[in-house]
Structure formats: structure tokens, C-alpha cells
């Protein structure tokens, strides 16, 4: 009996340890996001003056009674107010009375007043949708017309930038995957001279930072009159994404069972038929997991879009719109919270819809069987 019970107990401890650690890691990762989410529903003043956690029930000193400073007190010496003694600095900090309340001096020595406060359970529940309204519908600005009257106009909203981001992100994801899949098949299953050398040079490109390519590419785009077009940024993202895509897909396609391909060859299938009928369907998990990577990278990209399509309102992408939203000097930083969550919606949707492929893609190739 006891011998059978012991391992079960050991397993329980192990489970608790593992789950506890996992829970802790998840909490560490998600709490900041939760904080941003909560802050996105609070006014700028609230964010400035209290932490987002103050929406949770907590104990705080709350005003019970307020009265003027009694006559004849000298703030520069030790004072006695309602049976409590202390200096001005002590009262500024707040002095606890024997019955559990607190006397606190508000204001300066000449114009101050005394508040009686009590420690009570409280939570802040003042939420607002104003941040989201401003982000989604645009801020309103006052403008002067040539005849001198003042009109109010609505600023840019998110919709155009959201569509622009889609326009950039989808082809910039699909094009490199298509090219990389062909390349990966070629490197994995076709024999031609210089194959190894070419593959090594592709992998070597992984370590080249894209920043060094910005100026030369832009020079070429200016010559080709491509700058500021979506095609420019699609090509740029394709180029920057290809090495990683080729390398990932190569690893996956290489691990496909040789038998299937050989039987296809014996049946007289061409390389193209094998690629479209066998390789592509079998590689969906790898393609999908790379698609997630590339889509998130392009969606969150600021630099490449800034350089190649610029910030003109009719072509600017979401990241640029969010950066602009805070104003020239950053006075509307509180809108970033709401903006971040709106821009997060699509990547989250992409991730969750492709998640099952993603996990399969990570595992695939790791276990031979």
C-alpha cells in the first residue's frame, strides 16, 4: 500500500512545482500587458496620479473631516492639534491618532488646512472609453478658416493606417514564403554544382543587419522611381525575410521521408509536380509557422516602412500612425495604451488561427519516427 502511494505523492509534488513555475512565468509575462490594458481605460490624469493596480481593492487613507488650522499655532515649532503633537514636517507626513485615524496637513504653513483621514478599503472604478474613441475616431482639432472663424475638425483615424498595414503585411508575408519554399526544395532535394556554397551564403546572410542595406536600396529605388510605393516595401521585406525563411523551410523539407519522393520519381513525376503535389501540402505546418513570424515582424515594423514608403497619410502604416498619435512633443502618450491594443488585435487573431500549425511546425522535424 504504502509503497504504491509514495511515487504518487512524489508525482503530486512534481506537478505542483512544474505548474507553479509555469504559472509564475505566465504571470510575469502577462502582468505588464494587463497593466497596459487597464491603463487604456483610464484618463491621463488617473494614469499620472495612481498606478493601474489601484483598481483592485486596497486600503487607502480617505478623507473623513477637514478643518482650518486652529488659531494661534506656530508652524515653526512643535504643535499640538486634537491631542496629537508634532512638527510641521510630521504633520505633512501625517500623524496617526490613538483611535486609528490620521491627521495630515494639506498646503503650506500659512494657507494650510488639516484633514482627518481614515484607512478604508477602496478601489478606483472610474473608467473611460475616451482613449479608444480618440484613437479610433481621431482627435478633434480647432482650426481657423480664412475668414477668421474657428471650426472643429476630426483628425486622422486608425482605419486608413490599418488597411495600409494589411496591404503591406500580407504580400510581404506571402511572397518570401513562396520564393523560400522553392529555394528550400532546390537546396534539399536537387543536385546541382555549387549547391552547398550557395546554401552557406544564404545562411550567412542571416547575420547581416538590415540597417546597412537601407541607403543603397533607397538609392536604387529612387533611380527606379519605386520609392513611396507598396511594391518597394514588399520587395524590401521579401529580401530581408528570405534568408531566415529559406533556412527554416530547408530544415523542414529536408526532413521529409525520402521514400515518398523516390517513389514519386520512379512514377515519373517532375520536380515541379513533386513540389506542388507533395512538398507544399506536407510543409503546411512549417509554412504556417514561418508565416506567423514574418507577419508579426512586418506588422510591427517601423523602420523599413519609414524609409521606403514614408509617413504620408495615404500610405502610412499603423506603427507610424501610433507613433504620430502622441503629438509632436509626446503630450498624448496616454493614447499609446489604447493604440497598442487596437494594433495588437490582428496579430493575435493571426496567431490563434494558425497556432495549431505553429506548434506542429516547431515540433516537426525534431522527432524522427
Amino acid at each position: 500500500m504504502s509503497a504504491a502511494k509514495k511515487p504518487r505523492q512524489g508525482k503530486l509534488v512534481q506537478d505542483i512545482l512544474i505548474n507553479g513555475t509555469l504559472f509564475l512565468l505566465v504571470a510575469l509575462w502577462t502582468i505588464p500587458t494587463l497593466g497596459v490594458l487597464v491603463s487604456s481605460f483610464r484618463t491621463r490624469f488617473d494614469i499620472q496620479t495612481s498606478g493601474w493596480w489601484s483598481i483592485l481593492p486596497h486600503k487607502e487613507w480617505l478623507l473623513v473631516e477637514e478643518f482650518d488650522i486652529p488659531e494661534g499655532l506656530d508652524p515653526n515649532s512643535v504643535m499640538e492639534i486634537r491631542g496629537v503633537r508634532g512638527t510641521f514636517d510630521d504633520f505633512r507626513q501625517g500623524i496617526e491618532t490613538p483611535d486609528g485615524k490620521q491627521l495630515i496637513w494639506i498646503g503650506n504653513k500659512r494657507l494650510g488646512r488639516i484633514q482627518v483621514q481614515e484607512l478604508r478599503w477602496t478601489m478606483r472604478t472610474a473608467f473611460t472609453l475616451e482613449n479608444y474613441r480618440q484613437v479610433l475616431a481621431g482627435k478633434s482639432f480647432e482650426l481657423q478658416t480664412p475668414d477668421g472663424s474657428i471650426i472643429t475638425v476630426q483628425g486622422d483615424n486608425f482605419v486608413g493606417a490599418f488597411l495600409n498595414s494589411l496591404t503591406v503585411a500580407i504580400p510581404a508575408t506571402v511572397i518570401p514564403i513562396l520564393i523560400a519554399a522553392f529555394a528550400a526544395y532546390g537546396f534539399a532535394w536537387m543536385r546541382f554544382p555549387g549547391r552547398r556554397l550557395m546554401f552557406i551564403s544564404v545562411v550567412a546572410l542571416l547575420v547581416v543587419p538590415l540597417q546597412i542595406a537601407l541607403v543603397p536600396i533607397l538609392q536604387d529605388y529612387v533611380k527606379l522611381d519605386l520609392n513611396g510605393t507598396f511594391l518597394a516595401v514588399w520587395l524590401a521585406h521579401t529580401g530581408f525575410g528570405l534568408p531566415l525563411a529559406t533556412y527554416l523551410l530547408f530544415n523542414y523539407i529536408k526532413s521529409l521521408p525520402r521514400d515518398i519522393l523516390e517513389s514519386a520519381f520512379i512514377d515519373g513525376a517532375s520536380h515541379f509536380t513533386i513540389f506542388t503535389r507533395l512538398i507544399l501540402p506536407l510543409s503546411v505546418p512549417a509554412l504556417a509557422s514561418f508565416a506567423i513570424f514574418q507577419f508579426l515582424w512586418v506588422w510591427n515594423d517601423y523602420l523599413v516602412a519609414l524609409v521606403f514608403i514614408g509617413a504620408k497619410p495615404d500610405v502610412q502604416v499603423l506603427t507610424m500612425r501610433i507613433a504620430e498619435m502622441v503629438g509632436s512633443r509626446g503630450s498624448d502618450w496616454h493614447l499609446l495604451t489604447a493604440g497598442a491594443f487596437i494594433s495588437m488585435i490582428l496579430p493575435l487573431a493571426v496567431f490563434f488561427s494558425l497556432q495549431r500549425y505553429f506548434i506542429r511546425g516547431l515540433l516537426a522535424g525534431s522527432v524522427k519516427g
Binding site: Q144, F230, A288, A311, M325
Partner: protein
Amino acid sequence: MKSKKSLWLIVGALLVFTIVLSACKPAPAEEGGEAGGAAEGGSYYERALAGEFKGTVVTMTGPFTDEDAVKFNNAIADFEEKTGIDIQYEGSKEFEASISIRVEAGDAPDIVDFPQPGLLGNFVQAGNVVNVLDFLGQDYLQQQYNQSWLDMATMEGPDGPIMAGVWHRFNAKSLVWYPKKAWEAAGYPIPETWDELMALSQQIADDGDTPWCIGIESGAATGWPATDWMEEVMLRTTSLENYDKWVAGELPFSSPEVKKAAETIAEIWFNDAYVYGGRAAIATTFFGDSPTPMFEDPPKCWMHKQGNFITSFFPDGVKAGEDYDFFYLPPIDEQYGKPWLVAGDIMAMFNDRPEVRAVMEFFTKGESIKAWLGTGGALGAQQDVQLDWYGDPIERKIAELVQQATSFRFDGSDLMPGEVGAGSFWKSMTDWVSGSVDLDTALAEIDASWPK
């Protein structure tokens, strides 16, 4: 198998969708037709108003975005309508980085708005910038601008000095903001001299409050408000010649003049009884949030020195002239008068075409900023700006004071080379304020970073 087919279907549909999206974008406007037959002669501005450049496009870029960009576009809308020139402004938060890339790649916009003349100086040196005097007369410019502005726009090009651009809007920095209602209730006086300012600081401290709200945190630009303070005190404790030499790198930071300025600031900044949160809080408080305690009831701090743009950071609902007001940061040494520290946007021209010249000339006229002044957020640098154009009484008052100023100088850190003015000066001041290095080391570090 079915699900895979539908996946490809979705991918295909999305691709078609985005191609349609990108096709929907308006095609870039064609270069306008020939302006044949229009009257020759007259300035480019007049020729533009006569419709000679109808249908042309002038591209612009600059650092201001959002509300400022909307107001700028509104201010120039009337000109665009009358002339048929389409001015396409493109604001970017990463302007400093992107303009260098674009100019280097040969993709410079026609006109660029520089808030930091030091950065423009680099392009002038490289010979990228068109000399304004090529098409605008010296006499005309002298009539449109105070001489100080013209001096500040003159920069050294590869073939001698050129007028690198024209000034558009500016902001004034020598302002101390205070919470008016509480201020009057407490009976504090407006200080007229530095001694009065220090006495007032002591009086507020004696009353049990901290007089100053100071914060210099600003992300990668942390420390810039400290450089403004240095410049203010430099203008008030030494001659304009010395200030200009200092900005040009001829008067080192380790000289007694600069050191004295820093020590003057330290009397306020490093006195924990004078600064809200104490010296330790200065480097960690966001500059935009630092005046907020001034608007609590009762105020936690009473004075905040910052340019006129800071009002956009004040809490929602506080009213100019009622809840807050400003006074001029008092002079220290009487012999140097009442100098003003200003900053502003200079418009520089990178591509020379007639319509671009017309737009540049337009910017030298108060007309180009009039509608902006009406709703606040800018001050006009042009001489023909009328005080009654200002819709904001505070801004009108500032503009009036600057007009009467005995002298003014541009924000020194914006004129210094980027390595110093947007680098070591910020960083070393922050290190000094946070106490990680002493003053001599900090100043020596700035000197060492000056490009040879």
C-alpha cells in the same frame, strides 16, 4: 486535405484583396503642365498667385506630426487654393534619422523643416541646400525678419556662407509658469530680478513647500531641459559674444563662464528644499509630467521654467490666465539686459524649382502662419505678424515681450553639432544632476566629445 485547400483559398483571397487595396490608392499627381504664357517678372510668390505654377507639387518633411501637422496644413490651405500648388507635408517622429537617409540616397524632399539648425548645418556643409539669397533679396529678408533670425540662418557652405533657410514658427523658452489662483491667494510677488527670484524661492520653502517643479527625463533625449537652463543662465551671466563663441565651440565648457552658469543652476537644483521630489527626482521625472503637481490643490510646487509649448502638457481643463500664467525668467546681471532664449523651425530648400521658390517666399510672410496663430500652438517669426492674430492671450503676451526683447539667441544645444547638442551635452548634464559625476568631469566630457 479540405482544410488545406481552404487555407490556400484564404491566402489567395487576401492577396487579391491587398492588390485591390493598393490599386485603390490615388496615383501620384502628375507634374503640372507647362506654365506657358504667364507674366514674367515679379517675385516667385506673385507669379504663383497669378497661377503660373498651377498643378505643381512641392514635397515637404519635418518632425511635427498630428495636431501641429493638421494646423500647418490648414494654415497653408488658402495659399494652395489660390495658387494651385499642392504642398504635400509628411511629418515623421523619426525625422532626424530618416532625413539623413533620404538626403544621402538622393531622395530629398523639396523643403525640409528643421527644428535643430545644427542638423541643417551638416547638410549645408555637404552642399545639399539651396541658398535663399539666390532668389530673395537681402533687403526683402531684412524687412521680413529681425536681424538676429537672419544671422542664425547664415551658415557656412562649401563655397562660403549662405542663407540656409527661412524661419517659420518659433517658441520662446525664457518663461516661468506658475499656478495663478493659488499664487495670488498666497500673496507671492512676481520676481523682477534674480535676487528676488531666489528670495521668493526661499520664502516658498519657508512656507513649507517646494518652489520648483523640475524634470528632465525625455527618453533618448533625457537632459535637454537642463541644457535650456544652462543657456538661459549663460545669456544672463555673460556677453552675447561669449554665448556665440560657446555655441560655436570656441569657448570650452570647462571655461569659468560656463562653470559659473552651472553653479548658478545648482543653487536651485541641488537644494532639496527647492525642488519637488528633491535633486534625486529631477533626472527621473518626465519633463511633460513635471509641471502637473503645480495644478494640485494646494500646489505641491509653484514654479516651472519651460517653453510656451509646455501648456499642451498641462492637465485638461486648466485655463490660461486664470489657473496659470507666466513671468519672464529674471535677469541675473543687469549689464546683459533682458535676453530671450528662443527655438524655432527653419525651412530649408533642397530642390531648386520655381514653385519651390514660391513656397519658400510664402513662408517668409506672416500670412503663412496666420491661421495657426489663431488657434494657438505657434508663434510667428516674421515681422509682419500682427499681435491681434494670436488667438491665445498667453501667446500674444509672449510674442509682444519677444518683440520688445533687447536681444535673443537661439537654443544653443540645437545649434551645436549633433554629437554635442543632441548627445554629450544632454548626457553629461544628466550624469551631473543625478550625481554620478562631478561638474568638472561632466564639463570636460562635453569638451572631449566636440568633433575636431
